[in-house]
């Protein structure tokens, strides 16, 4: 017996609609969800917006020197900063929306935005 002959016309329609649903679910689930990003500011102005789903390093020039910021596994941190106290470096990884690390002497900040922001700002 032919398997194909068991399919009625409507079955093809339902299978087709199912395929469309599956295809649509990929971008909806895997791209819409990655709207989370880290905003890097220098001197109060947006310097870069980093997609948290992509691991990378960036270097931000400031008045004192270069601040290095890294994204790794949906987290972001300040790797190095020329400031005297290193507060923003020692703050470590930021992973929640609203969290911010501010390197005040070098006028650089990085903040996680996107998703549902539970806080206006988080700092330690």
């Amino acid at each position: 017996m032919q398997w194909i002959s068991l399919l009625r016309p409507g079955d093809w329609l339902v299978a087709f609609l199912g395929t469309v649903l599956c295809a649509a679910s990929f971008p909806l689930a895997w791209q819409g969800g990655s709207a989370d990003k880290a905003v890097v500011r220098r001197g109060g102005e947006v310097f870069a917006e980093l997609d948290l789903s992509r691991n990378r390093h960036i270097e931000v020039p400031g008045p004192l020197g270069t601040t290095t910021i890294a994204v790794d596994r949906r987290r972001v941190r300040v790797v190095s900063d020329p400031g005297p106290h290193q507060y923003c470096v020692r703050q470590g990884w930021l992973e929640r929306a609203g969290e911010i690390a501010i390197c005040a002497p070098n006028e650089v900040s990085v903040q996680i935005v996107g998703g549902k922001e539970t806080y206006d700002s988080l700092s330690y």
């Binding site: 017996m1 398997w3 068991l6 399919l7 016309p9 339902v14 299978a15 199912g18 679910s25 895997w30």
Partner: protein, 180 residues
């Protein structure tokens, strides 16, 4: 010897439900034994029985067979009243709701494959809803939606085809459904 005062009167319909539920439970056990990489992705072989029952005896019998299978399967697999059991029950309820509508579609155009696909999507939809509300209250769950959707479509088509083939085979329907 005193005769028992309680006597359970069973109808042929009860016997039929019990036989079909037994077949579904057997398939549910086989289902549970198949190793698959991701929790939540299962072939759902026992739904083949539900589809055949729906086609032959109507929605009421199918609902009985399906719910009995979920409860007895839960007892046999030792997961009665566990989260996994409630996931199964929710999936079954959503599928049955959708099948109540799908069974009314014109048979000339829509067969067991349509029912199976629609029920599979309803099944995973209901389970995702329960999981999001109760078990994993985090939107990260929805990253898995595409995988579940593809699995639902694939297994929906396969189970539907098996049910359609069994329904179309006279030898099986005479020996299998009436006596098994």
């Amino acid at each position: 010897m005193t005769r028992s005062v309680t006597r359970l009167i069973t109808t042929p319909e009860d016997h039929r439900i019990a036989r079909l539920a037994a077949a579904a439970i057997g398939l549910a056990l086989i289902d549970a034994a198949i190793p698959l990489p991701l929790p939540g992705v299962k072939p759902g072989l026992s739904n083949i029985v539900t589809l055949i029952v729906l086609a032959r005896y109507g929605w009421g019998t199918a609902a009985w067979v399906c719910v009995l299978r979920v409860i007895a399967g839960g007892i046999l697999l030792g997961q009665l009243l566990s989260p996994g059991f409630f996931m199964s029950l929710t999936g079954a309820m959503f599928s049955l709701l959708v099948l109540a509508g799908a069974g009314r579609l014109p048979r000339r155009w829509f067969g067991p494959v349509s029912w199976s696909i629609l029920a599979a999507f309803a099944h995973i939809g209901g389970q995702l809803l329960l999981a999001r509300l109760w078990l994993i209250p985090h939107n990260g769950l929805f990253y898995l939606v595409p995988i579940f959707a593809v699995a639902a479509l694939a297994f929906g088509i396969i189970n539907g085809l098996i049910a359609a083939r069994l329904l179309a085979s006279p030898s099986f329907m005479n020996t299998g459904a009436h006596h098994a």
